[in-house]
Symmetry: C2
Subunit: 340 residues, 2 copies
C-alpha cells in the first residue's frame, strides 16, 4: 500500500492525457460558452451597501475585469462532469455499457432526477443516510453481501485523472476561441475534490492558476477550513442547497489541493449568493445549472478577496477566467422550491 502523498506524485498532466485517450469515445466535448452580460456584471464593482453584513463590510469594493469562459459540464452525458470518471448515473451508464451489474449507494435525500436517472441505466439503487459515514457503512454492507468491487466517488487516482480531462478540453477550446491570450485562472466547485484536483493536475505544469469554490453553509467549506488550519477536515454534516458538495475532500484529493503550487486558494459562498448566481445563469445565460455548479461563478461575483486579486494582478486588462459548471441535474420542482 502506498500513501496518498506517494500516489499524488503520480498525478501528472500525462496521466490526465492518458485518461482522455480512454474516455474520449464515451464523453461529450462540452461547449465552452461566453456571455457578455455576465462579463459585464462580474466586471461591475459591488455596491458598498451590498457588502454590509459580509466579511467585506467597510472595504472599498474591488474593480476587477473579467472575461469569463463557461465549461458546460451540465451539458455532459448524464448531465454532469462525473461522466468523466464516476458517479451514480455515470457508473450506472458505464456498467450498462459493459453489461456489468451495478449497486449504487445514494443518500435517500438525493434529487429525484438523479435517482431516476441512475435507475434508468438498470443499476440497483440502495439508500443511505446523507453523511459520508452513513454512506460508507451501507457500502460495506453491500460489498459483504454481493462481493462487489468498490468504485470510490472521488478519492481515486483514475477518477481524478478522468475528471481532469475537463481541463484538457477547456484549455484546447480556449486556445481555439481566443487566438492570442492566456487563460489566467480556472475555478471549479470542490466537493470530494475529484474535479478540482484533476483540473489542478492538468494545469500543474502551466501558468494558469487553479482555484476552488465551496458552499459555506453548515461547515460545507471543509476544504477551505482545512487549508486554514493546515489539516484536512475529515467529517462534514451539511444540508447546503449545493447538494453535490456536501462531502469532505478525499485523502488523495487533499494531497493535490493543499499543495499551494497546484491550487492557489479555495473560497466559500453563502446560500443566498448561490441562489442569486443560479438565477443569473438561468435568466441571463438561459442555461440550466444545479446549485453546486455555480459556486465558482459566485466567487467571481461576490468574494471581494478574489475580486481584489483579479483587480491587482489583472489590472486594466483583467483576467480570462474559466468557470466549470459541474452539472445541471435539477428539476423544475427543485427550481420552484428554491425560488417559489
Amino acid at each position: 500500500m502506498t500513501t496518498p502523498a506517494e500516489r499524488a506524485q503520480l498525478l501528472t498532466p500525462a496521466a490526465v492525457q492518458a485518461a482522455y485517450g480512454l474516455i474520449q469515445p464515451y464523453v461529450h466535448r462540452t461547449p465552452l460558452l461566453t456571455c457578455k452580460t455576465l462579463d459585464s456584471i462580474a466586471s461591475t464593482p459591488q455596491s458598498s451597501e451590498s457588502l454590509v453584513g459580509t466579511p467585506f463590510e467597510g472595504q472599498t469594493p474591488a474593480r476587477p475585469k473579467f472575461r469569463l469562459f463557461f465549461k458546460c459540464e451540465n451539458l455532459q452525458r448524464i448531465g454532469a462532469f462525473k461522466a468523466r470518471g464516476n458517479h451514480a448515473q455515470a457508473l450506472a451508464l458505464a456498467a450498462s455499457t459493459l453489461h456489468i451489474p451495478a449497486h449504487i449507494v445514494m443518500p435517500s435525500i438525493s434529487t429525484s432526477s438523479k435517482i431516476a436517472g441512475t435507475r434508468s441505466y438498470g443499476a440497483e439503487v440502495i439508500f443511505s443516510g446523507s453523511t459520508s459515514v452513513e454512506r460508507e457503512a451501507v457500502v460495506a454492507e453491500v460489498q459483504a453481501k454481493t462481493g462487489a468491487i468498490l468504485i470510490p466517488p472521488y478519492d481515486d487516482f483514475n477518477i481524478i485523472c478522468g475528471q481532469g480531462t475537463t481541463a484538457l478540453e477547456l484549455e484546447a477550446q480556449y486556445t481555439e476561441q481566443v487566438r492570442s491570450g492566456t487563460l489566467d485562472a480556472v475555478i471549479t466547485p470542490v466537493g470530494g475534490g475529484g474535479l478540482n484536483s484533476g483540473v489542478a493536475t492538468f494545469f500543474s505544469d502551466k501558468s494558469t492558476r487553479v482555484f476552488g469554490a465551496e458552499p459555506a453553509f453548515e461547515g460545507a467549506d471543509d476544504c477551505r477550513r482545512g487549508l486554514q488550519a493546515g489539516e484536512r477536515v475529515p467529517k462534514v454534516s451539511t444540508l447546503t442547497i449545493a447538494d453535490g458538495l456536501r462531502t469532505p475532500v478525499g485523502l488523495l484529493n487533499w494531497e493535490v489541493i493543499s499543495n499551494k503550487r497546484k491550487v492557489e486558494g479555495v473560497f466559500a459562498v453563502t446560500e443566498e449568493q448561490i441562489k442569486a448566481t443560479m438565477r443569473l445563469v438561468l435568466e441571463r445565460m438561459k442555461v440550466v445549472v444545479e446549485p453546486s455548479a455555480v459556486v465558482g461563478l459566485a466567487v467571481c461575483l461576490f468574494d471581494e478577496d478574489f475580486r481584489k486579486r483579479v483587480e491587482q494582478e489583472g489590472g486594466e486588462t483583467g483576467w480570462d477566467v474559466a468557470v466549470v459548471f459541474s452539472g445541471g441535474n435539477t428539476t423544475v420542482e427543485a427550481i420552484a422550491k428554491l425560488f417559489g
Copy 2:
C-alpha cells in the same frame, strides 16, 4: 397603398437574404443544437392510454422517427428572435444603438423580465390592456401625443424578412453539421406570424416543408382555426401561458401562412403539453426556454396528425426536423409559478 396580397408577392428568399445583409452585424448566429434524449422521446410511440381524452383517443399511436435540430433563438440578443426585426426589447436596443427616443406600448401583464429588459435600454414603457385592440388604442394615443412613427410588431414587410433570417441561418448550419441529408421540415411558433411567414418565405423555393404551432387555450389557435374556416380570425382574447402567442396573425403574415405552397399546416397544443415539453427541455436539454418557444416541439411530441405524417412520409428513415425555440425570456419565479 398596395394590398397585403400584393405586398406578399414581394416576400421572396432574396428579400430575406437582403435583410440578413443589413442585420447580421447586430444579431447572434445562434447555435443549432441536437439532443439524443429528445430524439429518442419524440421517436417513441405515445401510449394508447395517454391519448384517452384527446382528439386521438382510440387511434393506433404513430411510430414516427425524428432527428431534431433546435434553432436556439432563446440564446439570441435580448433573449428572442425578435432581435432580427422587432420588438419591445429589440426595438429599445435598436433605438438606443441609433440614439433615437423610443416609446414602447406593452400589455401591463407582460413578464416582468421583459418590462425590465426593455427599460434597461432606456426606452419609455407605456402599459395597455392585453388584447391587440386595447394595445392599438394606446399606440394611437402615444402617436398623437409624440408624433412617433409606428413600428408594428409583426405585420410588416421588413420585419418578416428580418425574422426570416432565422431560416437562412439554420439551413446553413444544418448543412454544415449534416453533410449529406435534406432538412425535411421546419416548425415555428405562430403568434402574430412574423417568424413563421419569414421562415416560410425563405424556404418557398426549397423542398423543406414549413409548419406552424400555436397554443389551443381560449382560442389562441386563431391561425389554425382561420385556415380551417378559410378566413383570417381578426380577434383573439386568451391568457395562454404561451404569452408571446396571444395575438392574432397579421394581414401580411396571413397572406403567406394561408398559402399552402408556403406553409403546409398549423397545429395546436394544450397548456399541459406546453408545460410537459418545457419541463423536458429544461431538465433534459438543460436549456432555458419560455412557454411560447416550445409549441413546435410539443407538436412533434404530442400531435398524432403530425406524427402520422412523419411516419408515413418519412418511413424507416424518418424526418430531419428543425424546431425554432423562439425565446427564453422567463424568470425563476415564472418557472416556480408554472411548476410549484
